[in-house]
């Protein structure tokens, strides 16, 4: 049952369905809220914290992707505090791993890079950690480079929720968290991976890529999941 609610984004009156998230309502009305872990067609996890917004009467910032809309809600998407936190989140993502765009396969196609450009993040105030991650090139079709991973878990979710293979998972805790295939085996030896390539398609950065491509050569199709769903529904 669809039940409409009225709410405000930055003073602008809009309508949404009561089951919508704040993020979905904003997007449906052309209001910009950045996000990285969110992906249309996958469950939401609120991992990247980029979609933080201020909601009147709530003392702390909330993630728009996991917050439901409500009647008469007043959402502020670009207060100085929100903007400050967003920048901080992005800067931390860059400082955490090795994002060297210039020779990255995703250069010019990367969602992280595009957001940094859009939000005017040209440097980070935090010291780079320069971790050293081994690249996993054992898969015959794909590469996994943790140096470029932002732990959005899109790969894990698409693999589990859409492909049903559940190859990807998070290992470790805190700053030592990382994505692993199966029980941290080389991807090429994974007994569960079907080589469908969905994880590569949804990865926002150059962490997952097809083999053999050079800098900036990655091409990702947008919005693949609604398409896959409709194809499945039509029985084709």
């Amino acid at each position: 049952m669809k039940k409409p609610v009225a709410l405000k984004f930055d003073g602008k009156q809009v309508q949404a369905d009561e089951n919508d998230s704040v993020l979905a309502a904003a997007r449906a009305n052309g209001i910009f809220i950045p996000s990285l872990c969110y992906y249309t067609g996958l469950s939401t996890v609120g991992a990247c914290r980029l979609c933080l917004v201020e909601i009147k009467g709530v003392p702390r910032l909330l993630s728009a992707c996991v917050t439901k809309v409500a009647q008469d809600m007043e959402v502020a998407t670009a207060t100085p505090k929100v903007v400050r936190y967003r920048r901080m989140m992005l800067e931390l993502l860059f400082a955490e791993r090795n994002h060297v765009c210039s020779f990255c396969v995703a250069n010019g196609q990367c969602e992280l890079q595009a957001l940094a450009q859009r939000l005017g993040v040209v440097h980070t105030r935090y010291a780079y950690r320069y971790p050293r991650y081994q690249l996993d090139a054992s898969h015959p079709k794909f590469l996994h480079d943790s140096n470029r991973c932002i732990l959005c878990t899109r790969c894990a979710r698409v693999c589990e929720e859409v492909e049903g293979a559940r190859t990807w998972n998070v290992m470790g805790r805190g700053i030592h968290s990382d994505m692993m295939t199966d029980l941290n085996q080389p991807w090429g030896e994974s007994p569960t991976c079907t080589t469908c390539g969905k994880c590569v398609q949804v990865c926002p950065t150059g962490a997952l890529a097809e083999r053999g491509v050079s800098a900036g050569e990655i091409r990702k199709r947008e919005n693949i999941l609604p398409y896959i769903e409709s194809m499945r529904a039509s029985g084709r």
Binding site: F103, G108, A137, S138, V213, S214, G216
Partner: protein, 475 residues
Amino acid sequence: MAKTVVIDPITRIEGHSKITVYLDDQDQVADAHFHVTQFRGFEKFTEGRPFQEMPAITARICGICPVSHLMASSKACDDLMAVKIPPTAVKLRRLMNLAQLTQSHALSFFHLSSPDFLLGFDSDPAQRHVLGVAAKYPEIAKDGIWLRKYGQQVIEWLGGKRIHPAWTVPGGVNAPLSEEVRQKILEGIPHGIEIVRRTLDFWKNTQGRFADEIEHFANFPSLFLGLVTPEGHLEHYDGFIRVVDADRKIIADKLEPTAYQHHIGEASLGDSYLKAPYFKPFGYPDGMYRVGPLARLNCCDACGTPLADKELLEFRALRKDGAVLSSFYYHHARLIEILFALERMQELCNTANIMNTHVRAVANPNKFEGVGVSEAPRGTLFHHYKINEQGLITWANLIVATGNNNLAMNKGIAQAAKFFVNGKDVKEGALNRVEAVIRCYDPCLSCSTHALGQMPIKLSIVNARGETIRELTRY
């Protein structure tokens, strides 16, 4: 007894080069050395990366011209894949390489070195830069700017709008040539040729004023090394290695570039991170050789294009009985090479299959080791990689033009310092000349600061007691 001066590498400024002139007890110049810190960590840095990233990585982490690295690196990757890339891809890569040669040589000649020729080696250092030239000789400055811009535009037209074109890729190039770009390239060539021809005339007319510089700017016998076509013509992308001596006698010919390690040894000098390559059969240090425009013209039998060949005849006449030896003539050679590049680009754009859309070979790695060699504006460039079964880099070695010239640059500045520098009264103009010897070779460290039109360089005079008595820094 003159003291030995050890310069602690830690104190060196990253990305800067340093010349040290050593004086003896009588305050006369005993020796001079050129030190560079530049490839530290490169091999470590690329370890574990997929080989397909190498062209883009090497185009950036090293100060030398990005396109040259794209070429040598892509060729090394082709070798790892064990493919023969489509003929049109070869032509397109050549086109971009020649455009790079044009813009880089124009920069070296007009922006970096012309202030010395036009305003004088002893002129006011505050004015002795490209803006000073623009004020006094606006026409020449305009020509230089046009030529450089044209070369850069061709690179951009071919490589797409992105600042650093990742257009040259393992296996070929990633987009074919469009008719529009072909036309645009062709349109600029006649004007470019006109500029080089009048600059050559101007250059020849000024020669009388520089007798001392010609005589003492790294003017000594040495070997010369460069790529030539199978017919022995001037070559920048492919071909074979040829080595000639000071008499222009061919010492070695048709050497497979991929077997460079058989012919070139690399010595480590205590006072510089830059290794000192030498021609193995002659041993170290007798195997000292020079690369770059001067070396290429000394090596080849002919350029292979009509206008450049006419100029080459005049160039040969500079030293009838052998190779042109004074490094001052690097500048002259650079102009001839621009002429050649423009003629060749015109020719390439007019060949039948240049618009062919089959421009990339696709393959997995089929070899564990690959070598790519090409001519950068400054000289022969070697890329050598090893990979594991997964295609990840396990080892890399580069020899860049500036490295090839290392021994000759050291010898050259020592020669110039002995002639021009008086240890008792060190004049700025004398130091400028010592520096200008380095500018003849147009070493790659200048690239990183090309935007400023000058290269960062620090020159120190050290007396017999090891005390620095004079320092000069330019940024």
